[in-house]
Symmetry: C2
Subunit: 203 residues, 2 copies
């Protein structure tokens, strides 16, 4: 049985093209034909791999979720063994925050899907909504660990801190993409916030 092409790779090639279009011109300008052209393949092939547009869109969110998870895992692992809790948290925020073209794309794509999910929950599946939840839970776990180690200020609730941080990240990220604020300014605001959450003394 001949198998010259890697199906997974082809699918990634096409969904990547879709994400590029979303980031550049918006979700509304994603058409089967535009995706095909951006991916450098024929319209027919897009239909071949993803029968309908809906399935293509779903595959694209899954793809972006996986890619982000990989990126974060690699980044955190690169911190060396037993990094500080705050270091891990700041690394995560710094990685997903729209600073370069890649993270900016990620933010636009995520927000676009989020808006879509507000009015058509069936299109943005559980997979999509589950990702930010998982990230927040992970961050909450880190806050919990920091609290257990006595690194947090008094009266802080790890889960509430995670929610607050992820909320800030999302809102400030949007304002950065919209050009209302510099990424550096936004990150300074978040750093300022973390300064207050973490107990000042200790290293």
């Amino acid at each position: 049985m001949p198998k010259l092409a890697d199906h997974e790779q082809r699918r990634a090639q096409i969904t990547d093209a879709l994400l590029r279009i979303v980031a550049a011109t918006g979700l509304h300008s994603v058409t089967m034909r535009a995706v095909a052209q951006e991916a450098g393949v024929s319209l027919r092939l897009v239909q071949y791999y993803f029968q309908t547009k809906e399935r293509l869109l779903l595959a694209a969110v899954e793809h972006v979720g996986t890619r982000l998870a990989d990126r974060l895992a690699t980044r955190v692992r690169g911190l060396g063994e037993d990094p500080g809790h705050r270091e891990v948290i700041e690394t995560i925020v710094g990685e997903v925050f729209p600073t370069d073209a890649d993270s900016r794309m990620l933010h636009i794509v995520y927000t676009s899907y989020a808006v879509l999910a507000m009015t058509s929950p069936e299109l943005a599946g559980e997979r999509f909504l589950g990702d930010p939840d998982a990230l927040e839970r992970y961050v909450a776990g880190r806050f919990q660990a920091a609290a257990d180690a006595g690194e947090l200020a008094d009266g802080t609730d790890p889960r509430a801190e995670a929610a607050a941080l992820m909320g800030m990240y999302g809102g400030l990220g949007t304002s950065v993409v919209l050009g209302q604020r510099t990424a550096a300014d936004a990150l300074a605001v978040i750093g300022h916030h973390l300064d207050r959450v973490f107990r000042p003394r200790r290293t």
Copy 2:
């Protein structure tokens, strides 16, 4: 010269219909025909008042901005004279936060336009981007006043606090609309945050 209809009211009737559609089924399902039907007028009339779809969309954002500003002004004025700084800030956040159908609609509309503005700045005019800026500046002013009155914790920067709060509001609001969190939970997180920004003692 006969003038049986109030142009402003008619325009409001149509843009209101548009906003309802955005909140219910998303910005992508806003069509001239759908707006006309929702507003209970003929397609021809929508064309009559707003020549093109682009102008209709722009008018709708302006409309929502004005309406929100009015709502906030009324609400804050209703606090009586010389209300506490924290009270004003909490009132504002409580008013714009997606708790009821109206504020939920507001949030969806705002976020939809924000996403649109990310990739097509010409469609979401300065009027749109200016509104959240103005709100943040106002909140920053309140934080500054609170700081001058010695009500804030040490080492707080009023403008950074405003940015952090507005960011949190936006991000958490989205998660509430997406059903990832209860509005009450989100507001509790924000309250928890404000507890730390404001100095505990004093009334």
